[in-house]
């Protein structure tokens, strides 16, 4: 039962144009604001992800505010009068409108998908995505740079090894401005390698060696967080990532190699020892943490970080 839409008057058209213009302006403004909600950009992937997020924020604002302003309009102006129990005009549908609001969202989401696949490709060239092949794992992609850093996730500590230099540490040091190959592995449960400032995340699945590539682009100290729930001290399973210039990075490696091994950082082990020393604990059962890894440089996880 389609009713032909009546021809709108001039004032309606002007009203619609003002509404659409305001909506567009607000959406573009929100798109620009979106960058400020994210941590600093410290890898080559970050600007790509942020650009996509900004675009999506603008689209989302347009859709959300558009729908909500229609709701606000009907709530304000289409209320039944106090004792009015009559029905409204029985409009049962409009096929033309149905087609419009099926096709426009379809085109819109497919446009977002196309943009995203393009971003995927770009990040894939310079980041991890192209090099992960489900199931197989461990083989490493052909023609990729050899992993120069091994990342070992445990319940609950992170250990970083630089096999070429004989260095190990619980604070990840990375050179700025070049692509670094990491090899992720877990010794117990699934962990997540997540550095918000890099916008990169990868599950570390036990039984697999996972090649992972990233290009740091900003010097500074950032947080590495475990992003896959890994048990009791999951929240404390954090480490710092220090991005340095190539020269600083190399000299840090040289100095670190000369240092003797000592226990690395493990907040969980410290807490667990404290817990065991109490006569009665206030909690439920837990797996004991792995002993802190023996490293040349424990580093820090309490210094102020940039993101």
């Amino acid at each position: 039962m389609t009713t032909a839409p009546s021809r709108p008057g001039l004032s309606v058209l002007i009203g619609l144009a003002i509404w659409g213009g305001l909506l567009l302006w607000l959406s573009l403004w929100m798109g620009r604001q979106a960058y400020r909600w994210l941590p600093v950009q410290a890898s080559s992937a970050a600007p790509l992800v942020d650009g996509l997020f900004s675009f999506e924020t603008a689209v989302a604002t347009f859709v959300f505010v558009g729908v909500v302003s229609v709701m606000a309009w009907v709530i304000l102006f289409n209320r039944a009068a106090k004792y009015d129990v009559s029905d409204a005009e029985p409009i049962e549908g409009n096929t033309r409108l149905e087609v419009i609001w099926t096709v426009i969202p379809l085109v819109l989401v497919m446009a977002i998908a196309a943009y995203t696949i393009d971003v995927n490709r770009q990040i894939g060239l310079i980041g991890p995505m192209e090099h992960l092949h489900g199931g197989a794992g461990g083989a490493g992609a052909a023609g990729s740079p050899q992993a120069e850093i091994e990342v070992i996730a445990r319940q609950w500590s992170w250990e970083f090894r630089y096999p070429a230099d004989g260095v190990s540490t619980t604070e990840l040091h990375l050179p700025m401005g070049r692509r670094v190959g990491l090899q992720l592995r877990s010794e117990d449960v699934i962990h997540g390698f997540y550095v918000p400032a890099f916008r990169l995340k990868q599950q570390v699945i036990p039984g697999r060696l996972i090649p992972f590539f990233l290009t740091p682009t900003r010097e500074g100290r950032y947080r590495l967080r475990d992003s896959e729930y890994s048990g009791t001290w999951f929240a404390a399973n954090q480490a710092d990532v220090v991005v340095q210039s190539e020269a600083d990075y190399q000299s840090w490696l040289r100095r670190a190699a000369a240092l003797p091994l000592q226990p690395g950082l493990s907040d969980a082990s410290r807490d667990y020892a404290l817990r065991q020393s109490r006569s009665r604990t206030s909690g439920y059962a837990t797996v004991a943490p792995a002993p802190p890894p023996m490293v040349n440089v424990p580093g820090s996880n309490t210094l102020p970080h940039d993101g």
């Binding site: 994210l38 039944a80 409204a88 029985p90 609001w101 039984g207 947080r223 729930y229 909690g283």
Partner: protein
Amino acid sequence: MTITPFDPGLSEVPQRQPEAPNGWKRYISFNTDAKVIGIQYIATALLFLLVGGLLAMIMRGELITPAADLVDRTVYNGLYTMHGTIMLFLFMFPVLNGLNNLLIPVMIGAPDMAFPRLNAAAFWMVPVFGVILMASFLVPGGPPASGWWSYPPVSLQNPLGHLINGEALWIVAVALSGVSSIMGAVNFVTTILRMRAPGMTLMRMPIFCWTALSAQTIQLIGLPALTGGAVMLLFDLVAGTSFYRPEGGGDPVLYQHFFWFYSHPAVYVIILPVFGVFSELFPVYARKPLFGYKFVAAASLVIVGLSLVVWVHHMFPSGVPQWMRDLFMVTTMLIAVPTGIKVFAWLGTLWGGKLRLNTPMLFALGGLFNFVFAGVTGIMLATVPVDIHVNNTYFVVGHFHYVIYGAATMGVYAAIYHWFPKFTGRMYYEGLGKLHFLLTFIGTNLNFFPMHPLGLMGMPRRVSSYDPEFAFWNVIASLGAFLLGVSIIPFLLNLVSSLVRGERAPANPWNAIGLEWLLPSPPPTENFEANVPTVISGPYGYGTGLPLVEHQEAYERALQQA
């Protein structure tokens, strides 16, 4: 469209129910009346809502400060695991099955469900697995603490090595919940397909029945995967098998596939009936027909099809190949289209209507507002690079709670208020209802909005402590959570006082169109008994003046005389 033949003999067969007690005792007995079972489901679910909500408030108490200082970390992990499990398996699914039980038979003019005993058995499994799950608080080592996803290997760690441990009880409870839901789904699908009143073709069926049919079809397809996956997890945990143990050659990612093959569609099992509630309520309170009935009905079926091919979007950072990331992103995006059709249909229904903002309408409008917000953040989550950043952060927790509390639970509240007079025979108190709405709407947004900036900043979910830069938004979220706790008080007060001394409800207090409103409030045990009406027009004929059934005046006269 063929008319399903209704066997008039069906309602004349003497139904066996003499031993069923009639007073309040029938609610604690093995009763086969769908209306009793519906109330049993809803009452049980609301009880567990209080338990799950209490756990959430302790969690938010812990998270109001950065350090892990209120409860031990092991306790926090148990609390958040139990919160998620209780809210999904013991609140959300049971409360929706309660609505299905109450509404489906009366909406289609059936005397009861197709398999009343199966129906009662499905319900009574809920308290059984509820007790099993809650018992995990009492076993040595405490409750399960690996999240409601229970990903191996962390879920297989069993620190004390006991055979009966929290995790094992969790798996048994979830598997039983699956069996109960499958039993319910068989019943709902059969009832909708086979027991409609004469003249009620599929295309004259209320949208709630369409959405229930769609949701229960997902249950039938998806639940066996979860239940099978859970049984394998149990074997790994207690019988030493290695389906998921990497050291024995198993694959932990396999579990993720089993889990999400069901658990993503499960979100549609939850939200589809709520779409149904919106589609029922907006026409009544806008006094207009539903805009584009056919499109809204068809959109539900499209959502069912798509929901079964999106599960890998939960696993983008799990190490899946690029082509899978692209494919599952596109399918996920496509769900926006049928969902958009529904949202626009509701706006079309409201547009130019005569809105009455009573409690059910306020909850429906508030639910729609929250749902649209959840929808746009859902699109963001579907795109792989953004998802890689915010996956497993509070952004996802915020999105999910906007869906599950902001839209679904508020839709459930809307339904409870709207049909309360029909099934209890009493009117609720409008003032308390509006207070409940106001506190719920503010509390929901205060609690769940801050989770989005937190996730964008990089705060992982499931943490018992966090870095100080996250403190500001966490304080606001915690205040919102406590407000949500307070918002339950006027709700419970309203339910209890209205049941005891509310005004007597007429048969059709909202002047609504639908078979259920041609029955007395509350309806008799066999609904229309021998006088099943013949449906002669589609639902939602507001303003058209067309009668819904043959001899409508006779039905209305009988109601007035009663």
